[in-house]
Amino acid sequence: MITVDLDKSSVRDLNERLHRLPPETNEKAWRVVNPKGAHALCAGLTVPIEVTIDGHPGYYCAGMNKEATVVVNGHCGVGLAENMMSGEVRVKGNASDAAGATGRGGLLVIEGDAGLRCGISMKGIDIVVGGSVGHMSAFMAQAGSLVVCGDAGSSLGDSIYEARLYVQGKVDSLGADCVEKKMTPHHLAKLEQLLARAGIKADPKRFRRYGSARRLYNFHVDNVDAY
């Protein structure tokens, strides 16, 4: 385990060291302490290492992650794991706005709550939230899955494309073109897998599924209120 203390070294030093690691590196276990809200921690990782951050990082923690596993023992700022490609990011606390934004792959687990616009423009990432998500989550979500064990804020899945949304609790309101869909055995199995991968205990049967009504896929004047 290599420990980097951000009271003593800079974010630049940390990221540079992590970026230089070759894919076959033996330095696979890292621990970062005293993040104190610093931005872009562990952004742009490309190799299968595991980094644990003790404390609260700022914006864009684990941004554009590939292959790596990043675990945060704390709360994360805006844009957690934005545009993640693969690997896993796990937050033991809460995440702020736009968690998992535009993510294209990998697994993002937020054990606490996520803020506004969780999974905005998601493009293939799987996001599992142990708590609740805020307003406008999964806005323009294109692909991937968002699992919410708590409640969802207003306008969930507004202008959604093909992403799949599963919510156990209450949904304040659905956004334009987002509708409740039938939970088929296929979806139930997928949800069960996601919860298992995320290590979150919940009964898949208690969830409801939401997705696109596909009414906005091609413009029609009678849907003008939705634009």
């Binding site: 104190k36 809200g37 610093a38 404390g55 609260h56 700022g58 914006y59 709360h75 700022g77 805006v78 606390g93 809460n94 702020s96 706005d97 709550d113 803020g115 506004l116 805020g134 307003h135 804020g153």
Partner: protein, 302 residues
């Protein structure tokens, strides 16, 4: 576009170190607002009908003592003047509206940064660290304080354009974001007798809230009304005699973090400002929800 910080001390034992903590919080927000910085500190209340004003004049050698003497004679009041860089705190044994009226007619060039019975407001150009040092923020004690670092969007970088903006006694406002209907709202307020000192959209918000409060609205009601009348993006923090309030617009595009322990409540644009407060690692940390009014009251907490 900016950084906002606010600290409200529940534990009286921490009050001597209010300024030191706020100073660290403000300096963490330097990148969000390198143009200017400002603070409002609530402390040392004056009693009875007396008032306390924070005043600014661009001339560092301005004859404050003579002005204080003339003011005292005119209002038949005791006047005390304490200089802090190019600001002064003037304590007068008369209500603030009398003092403001006299100053406006006799010294219209003096800027009134803040007024009331316990709020002092300091704001100036430069990096937060420089501003904090210039006004001795680190040594200030008190119950609560708010601060602002500014990255100017559409109005000038001057001392006057810096936040916080004061529009009522012991009330001030800091803002991160930009309003999109402030010109119409300004005309509406001018029509109702409000006078403006800058072209800053945040001043419009401050005077709007003062207007609602003046109509008899409670703090929460005034902020609720703002949700309907103010268009655009904002995270506001409003300092009041007894505490502070936080409001984000319904889109909540600008960030905000709240944290609370048994000893304090803190608000900041980013967590990094909160990270070094005592016991921050054990604080409850959350993001304020959009279009929800949050208020804290020092008397309720004490």
């Amino acid at each position: 576009m900016c950084g906002i910080v606010g600290l409200f001390l529940k534990n009286p034992a921490l009050r001597p170190s209010l300024g030191r903590h706020l100073s660290h919080m403000l300096i963490e927000m330097t990148e969000r607002g390198p143009d200017s910085a400002g603070i409002a500190v609530y402390h040392k209340p004056v009693k009875g009908k007396a008032s306390k004003l924070t005043l600014f004049h661009a001339d560092p050698h301005f004859h404050w003592r003579e002005v204080g003497g003339a003011l005292g004679e005119a209002l038949k009041a005791e006047v005390d003047v304490e200089t802090k860089a190019n600001h002064v705190v003037m304590t007068v044994s008369a209500p603030d509206e009398h003092v403001r009226g006299w100053l406006k007619s006799h010294h219209p060039e003096i800027r009134i940064m803040g007024y009331g019975q316990l709020m002092e407001v300091y704001k100036d150009m430069g990096l937060p660290k420089q501003v904090a040092e210039r006004y001795g923020l680190g040594r200030m004690e008190g119950t609560h304080a708010i601060g602002h670092t500014r990255m100017a969007t559409e109005s000038a970088v001057t001392t006057e354009h810096s936040h916080p903006f004061t529009a009522a006694s012991d009330m001030c406002l800091v803002h991160n974001g930009s309003l999109s209907n402030h010109n119409n709202l300004r005309r509406w307020l001018v029509h109702r007798g409000h006078q403006f000192e800058t072209d800053n959209d945040s001043e419009v918000a401050a005077r709007y809230f003062a207007h609602r409060l003046g109509e008899g609205a409670s703090l929460a009601e005034a902020l609720e009304a703002g949700l309907k009348d103010l268009d655009g993006f904002y995270t506001f923090t409003m300092g009041t005699r007894n505490g502070f309030a936080v409001l984000r617009d319904a889109f909540a595009c600008k960030p905000a973090v709240l944290a609370e322990t048994d000893d304090w409540v803190a608000m900041a644009s980013e967590y990094r400002s909160i990270a070094n407060l005592p016991g921050a690692d054990k604080a409850v940390v959350w993001a304020p929800a959009p279009a929800v009014v949050y208020t804290w009251d020092v008397q309720a907490a004490a």
